[in-house]
Amino acid sequence: MTLTLAILVPLLPFLGALAGLASGRRAPGLVRPLAVLPTLASAVLAVLVLAKLGAKGHLDSATRLTPTGGLPISLSVHLDGIAVLLAVLVTVVATCVQIYSTAYLREDPRYPSYAALVSLFTAAMLLVVYSGDLIVLLVGWEVMGVCSYFLVGHHWERPDARSASIKAFLVTKLGDVPFLFGIFVLATDAGTFQIDGILGAAAAGRLHHATLAALLLLCGVAGKSAQFPLHTWLPDAMAGPTPVSALIHAATMVAAGVYLVARLEPVFLLSTAALVVLGIMAVITMIGSALCALAQDDLKRVLAYSTVGQLGYMAGALAVGDRDAALFHLLTHGAFKALLFLSAGVVIHAAHTNSLTAMSRMDGLRRRIPDAYATMGIGLASLAGLPPFSGFFSKDAVLTAAEHAANGDALTGGLGPAGNVPSWLGWTVLIGGLLTALLTAAYATRLWLLAFFPVRRPAAEGVVEVGAVAPTAAAVAALASDEPAGPVEPAAMVGPLWLLAVPSVALGLVGLWPHALPDWLDGVSLTPSSVTWPIATALALLGAGLAWLAWRRAAARVLAEAEADAAAAADPAPLLLGPLLQPSRNGFGVDALYDRAFVRPVLGAARLVSFLDREVVETYVQGAAGTPGLIGRVVRRAQNGNTQGYLSALAAGVVVLAVIVAVAQ
């Protein structure tokens, strides 16, 4: 029974996608039900599975369709606490996104294919979550890659969307090739593709190439979960529609990498080298992305970099051996990041721009979209890790895990030897995490202030935020003038916001309750340790305060110079970052570096190949055709049917022969 329900969970969105693709053009009325209902049903089913399986429940079932040679590949379902929890997250977020999209993309002519692809994306993620076989998991993994390509390139009329989709596809594939080999290495050592079998082999010490396999798998994880060397696709993927960003960032694509490492955590725990690589990668990712997020002007790019940073937290937790903390953060992050993106969609919808600078000059956003204002506040508070929002608890679980690892007793939950996690790695992750907490709070505050608190010129009406300190300035930006009260956002857009706001606030408390969440996971306590949480909270408050102060100073300066420079924004980032501003805004030049290191050589090589093909190879081809043609033409001249020509040649030959004979004698 549970099995049937579990199989239906990924199957329903898949069938919905097929039906949507098949009927989208012919029956436009069916598109919306076909998009929402299967996802909704599968969300209900996922909750049912969760309830039926119960804490610490396990369900494994496999059926083999056909013999596949040496290593059997089977369609198998592996349900445990992690899988069912994540399935609930995926389906809930996907449902919210689908409902939200019905309103957000109401006028879009390509909505049917969009909705079908979102369903397919969801189905693929659910396949990854439920699969008990690495090859089947890989299928879902790659289908997600394709779906992200299509969805990021949804507005394919725009060149940036096209290049972003290609970039997303290529960068994730770049990681997927070593990933595939990592799966092969694992399966060769364990003799099976079954995750259970692999974990059993890891426990029995039969994995002889754990480090190699773990490092290869890490490449794929870095690609999918946008970790440091391969993170560049995620900010660019903002070219897609906002609900897609929510789906990719919260529940599906990027969660897959973390989920996979969590599933195979015992394998990673066998190899100190892999853990170190993962940890260093995570720390670089979180600090770098937080700095980038602080400097971005595009609302969605800020959120994208914040996703990269939060994924860094999860990777850091995995690196110090605590997958419970990672999954806890994955769940809460899924909730508040989906919330953030969806509310950002509302904001962008209302402001008609992505730019924070433009928003900072825009009046009345708060009044026009009160729901988005409130829910985005919740999401940002959760992101910044302010108590008692969910992000606080999960982030602190990560920091606690790092602290334990730094003290030499990593919280591995019995999955592997704690001694394999070096204590300096724990320190690194801890310090990186704390620093990131500061930065995260800073950029969350900056985003909040810039988006919703316009710098008012004194001449403008009403509430004076910062304007009290400003001299009288007549300059009123055109955008700041009174706009008619914007369109009331439809319920289909607002409803999901509040639906997601609930877990964003409350999910963290579940972690406190010792028999709720930990029982579904490995039973490691998720309660914040008394050492880290005051420090983290203090740092977060400090970051927020610094951002606020910087914002005030920037605003004051803007007002002072308003007449000189009407386009200036009250952006606190220059003050906070100083000389780091420009590199941060450019993503620390990683893209430029890749451009120089890979793109240009490849383009050069392509040009060379094209040159060789056109000028050299084709010359041979042309020559092969031309030479016989030329010879033919010459020879044909001789065969012109003119008897006198023939006779001349004949006579000349006779003369030559005669001369030869005469001379020879």
Binding site: N642, Q644, S648, A651, A652, V659, A662
Partner: protein, 184 residues
């Protein structure tokens, strides 16, 4: 070369030609000139007439070589019959009266080269081979009687075969040039 040694005596001086030799050379030059005009003139009918001159000159050369029967046959058949035939041919193919500028084909320069090369080779070889050879013209070598005797005594069979050939050529020429009746 060994044949050349036979009639070698001191009576023949290289630079003291006899009267017959002088006449031969003069007539030969005329023949050659007429032949050149035959192959170069732009007027087709003139070419046939220059051919008459060349062939007639050759008949004189035969006489000088004491082959009188051949000479007369030459006059009769070539000058009399062949040239008339050629003239008929020209007229029947509607050869233009007067100069025709395209009498020579584009092959001309190649032809000239080949001909000059052939001439150089042949003359070199012939002069080299027969530098010191003289013909004894003391007795008539080609009288009608002598020719008739040899022809009907030793060459009867080829002679008869030739008559058959002539007949065949006659029949062939008639069939070739006969206008076929139009099929109804």
């Amino acid at each position: 070369m060994n044949l050349a040694a036979a009639p070698l005596d001191s009576t023949h001086g290289f630079l003291s030609p006899s009267g017959a030799e002088i006449v031969f050379v003069l007539v030969g030059l005329g023949v050659l000139g007429a032949a050149l005009l035959t192959v170069t003139t732009k007027q087709l009918v003139h070419a046939a007439l220059w051919l008459v001159v060349a062939l007639g000159g050759l008949a004189i050369e035969y006489l000088l070589l004491t082959a009188e029967f051949i000479a007369w046959v030459q006059v009769l058949i070539y000058v009399g019959a062949v040239v008339v035939l050629v003239l008929f041919g020209l007229m029947l193919t509607r050869a233009p009266i007067g100069a025709s500028p395209d009498a020579d084909s584009g092959n001309r320069w190649l032809a000239l080269g080949v001909a000059l090369a052939a001439a150089a080779t042949l003359v070199t070889l012939v002069v080299d081979a027969f530098r010191c050879t003289w013909i004894d013209l003391g007795t008539v070598a080609g009288s009608t009687k002598a020719n008739g005797v040899s022809l009907f005594r030793y060459w009867v069979l080829p002679f008869e075969a030739l008559s058959v050939l002539l007949l065949a050529a006659l029949v062939g020429a008639i069939i070739l040039s006969r206008r076929e009746k139009k099929e109804p």
